[in-house]
């Protein structure tokens, strides 16, 4: 902990000032001192209040048998019935399982690979090639899942798909990848990696760019090789952003959306493809069961916030990094 303080993390230690505990200095005195900070943040906090917090009254729908058009006070209140009903649906648990599994796999893969890629890219010596890779690698991010799923299907097809052609050439039997339920999680994670690698790496590239070059010079003088530099300078240098993003992503574990699964699924792998948001769509909104859709949203948010606070707490204790 203390070593970190003196190397790159460098917490603020203003000579002398920090020593004095805040209470004694008086509330208004501090307010006056920090007036700029307040002015720079409070107006925007108000905007967040308006646009993000006010609509939360929509959570009340989770406790109603909601019908659009009827006024707020005219809705039928059913208390926790929507939730109880939800927790009794076997499909809910199936969706939950699928969601969490794919999320965890995605978390693992979408941290390690982009970081590794960003580091390798920043170590690249040929400027022109480096710039080319930088530009090209994020292009798949802009190709929609509809198109990407088409490409994935074609790649894995038994009907002249390249992967199976390679397998046949090596003497094996073609495999119908998209029809294997067990492979679905991997295919989704793999496709996601392919699509988002370059884009996810951008933020790490920026973080690496911010590391003080003097530190690298110092390390070189100390005899560190490429790996030594990476291990001792680069990785710690981006550790803050990595941890913050990790905490935020853990909060999102249950929130992964559904487009990937929806586009990549077919009738055979259906059971593995149902994720929570897709479930909410089909068994909530599409059935005009707004109460259930809202209940799922509430469950989502509660779980996410719990995960967030827990992850944040753990990381704060272990590394001193914290989102809040």
């Amino acid at each position: 902990m203390s070593e970190r303080d003196t190397t790159v993390t460098g917490t603020t230690v203003i000579a002398g000032r920090r020593m004095v505990p805040r209470k004694r200095r008086g509330f208004f005195r501090t307010l006056a001192e920090q007036r700029f900070l307040f002015l720079m943040s409070m107006p925007f906090a108000v905007m967040v209040l308006i646009f993000n917090y006010l609509p939360i009254w929509g959570w009340t729908v989770a406790f109603q048998k909601y019908k659009p058009g009827k006024l707020f006070w005219a809705q039928t209140w059913v208390g926790l019935a929507n939730f109880i009903d939800l927790f009794q649906q076997p499909r809910f648990y199936l969706a939950l399982q699928n969601t969490l599994t794919m999320s965890l796999m995605s978390l693992l893969v979408n941290f390690t690979f982009p970081i590794a890629f960003a580091i390798l890219l920043s170590e690249m010596r040929w400027r022109g090639f480096k710039r080319l890779i930088q530009t090209v690698s994020y292009l798949p991010h802009f190709v929609s899942w509809v198109v990407v799923s088409g490409i994935v299907y074609r790649m894995l097809s038994t009907d002249a798909g390249p992967i199976n052609q390679i397998i046949s050439a090596m003497g094996g039997k073609p495999i119908q990848f998209m029809a294997q339920s067990n492979l679905f999680y991997f295919i989704v994670t793999g496709a996601d990696l392919w699509k988002e690698l370059g884009w996810n790496a951008i933020i790490y590239l920026a973080a690496i760019a911010a590391i003080d070059p003097e530190l690298f010079e110092a390390a070189k003088v100390d005899g560190a090789g490429r790996w030594g530099q990476i291990w001792n300078i680069t990785l710690p240098g981006i550790s803050h952003i990595v941890i913050i993003l990790l905490i935020l992503s853990i909060g999102n574990l249950i929130n992964i959306g559904f487009e990937r699964q929806f586009q990549l699924m077919n009738t055979i792998v259906l059971d593995r493809a149902q994720v929570l948001e897709l479930y909410a769509l089909r068994y909530g909104i599409q059935m005009n069961n707004f109460g259930r859709g809202a209940a799922i949203g509430v469950v989502n948010s509660v779980v996410s916030l719990t995960l967030l606070f827990v992850a944040n707490g753990i990381f704060r204790r272990k590394t001193g990094e914290s989102v809040m």
């Binding site: 917490t11 170590e123 292009l139 198109v147 790996w227 999102n252």
Partner: protein, 301 residues
């Protein structure tokens, strides 16, 4: 540790490292470039021929018909202008707002720090749903209004946290000495911190700009009845919509008359290219911010 020894050690491991690195990069290049070239090829290929599949990176029957179909749709030029406008204004304002809040949060002694951080973090995982949001916008008079593209998303917790984390990682001597010299928080922000933050601002700016450029759902829900406020992506969605056989055909009723000339796949591809093109043009200008040490060195000097 003599210098000759470290030099030898450095250059030898460096060489293999670079070679392996280059190989990996080439692999990444091929794998990520292919889908894009594939999309480009299909978009430039005669749409009836595209249905047969089998295209890789070159068109079989070259045509600009797909693009012509889209551009003939009518409102595209005006919509593109609106999209550009919202991207520029929205990105700028969002960066200003988020960086200011991030700066405030970056001060550990800031009174509102804990509260504000939590306040913001919660918004990332909590949402009231589509209809309450819709009613709010309506109550605020932001329906059929350009500002609905800018205001609601302007202050974004994720962006704020990323910028703040970046600020936390900056060397503090500069800020300290400025404070001792008597500068106030805002001046430090403007003169010292922001220039140091160029990489992260470029990054977040890119994220926000792409989000603005690609968004169409807000146009659909809030501004659909005013063609003057239509955005490029929304117009493109409408084009795509028109080429697809709709659900109603499933039950034997009149098939919605669609543009028989152009198949949906070709249009999807052309739309993708039209959307990516401006980003491809702008990104190289941002790349200089991702060069290691460049920014810090410059500011320090």
């Amino acid at each position: 540790m003599t210098t000759t020894r470290s030099k030898w050690f450095f250059s030898r491991s460096g060489w293999t490292f670079d070679a392996v690195n280059a190989l990996i990069m080439i692999l990444v290049l091929v794998v990520t470039l292919y889908p894009f070239l594939n999309v480009l090829a299909i978009s430039l290929n005669d749409s009836k021929d595209s249905v047969r599949g089998g295209l890789t990176i070159f068109p079989r029957i070259f045509t600009l018909e797909n693009y012509k179909t889209i551009l003939n749709f009518g409102n595209i030029p005006h919509a593109a202008m609106i999209s550009a406008l919202r991207t520029l204004i929205g990105t700028f304002l969002s960066l200003v707002a988020c960086s200011m809040v991030a700066y405030a949060l970056h001060h550990r002694e800031f009174m509102g720090r804990r509260f504000l951080s939590r306040f913001l973090a919660i918004t990332l995982y909590v949402s009231g749903g589509l209809i309450p949001g819709f009613l709010l916008i309506r109550t605020l008079g932001l329906m059929n209004n350009f500002l609905v593209y800018i205001l609601p998303g302007m202050v974004n917790a994720f962006n704020i946290f990323v910028i703040r984390t970046y600020m936390d990682g900056l060397p503090h001597e500069l800020q300290e000495s400025a404070k001792i010299d008597g500068a106030n928080d805002f001046m430090i922000f403007r003169r010292i911190v922001i220039p140091l933050c160029q990489p992260v601002l470029a990054t977040i700016g890119l994220f926000v700009a792409v989000g603005q450029w690609n968004s169409w759902f807000d146009t659909y829900i809030y501004n659909a009845s005013d063609p003057n406020l239509s955005t490029l992506q929304y117009e493109l969605m409408k084009v795509l919509q028109s080429t697809q056989t709709g659900n109603e055909a499933a039950y034997g009723s009149d098939v919605v008359q669609r543009m028989q000339q152009v198949s949906p796949e070709s249009i999807k591809m052309a739309i993708t290219i039209i959307t990516i093109a401006p980003i491809l043009v702008v990104y190289p200008f941002l790349q200089r911010y991702f060069v290691r040490g460049l920014v810090i060195g410059a500011v320090k000097g």
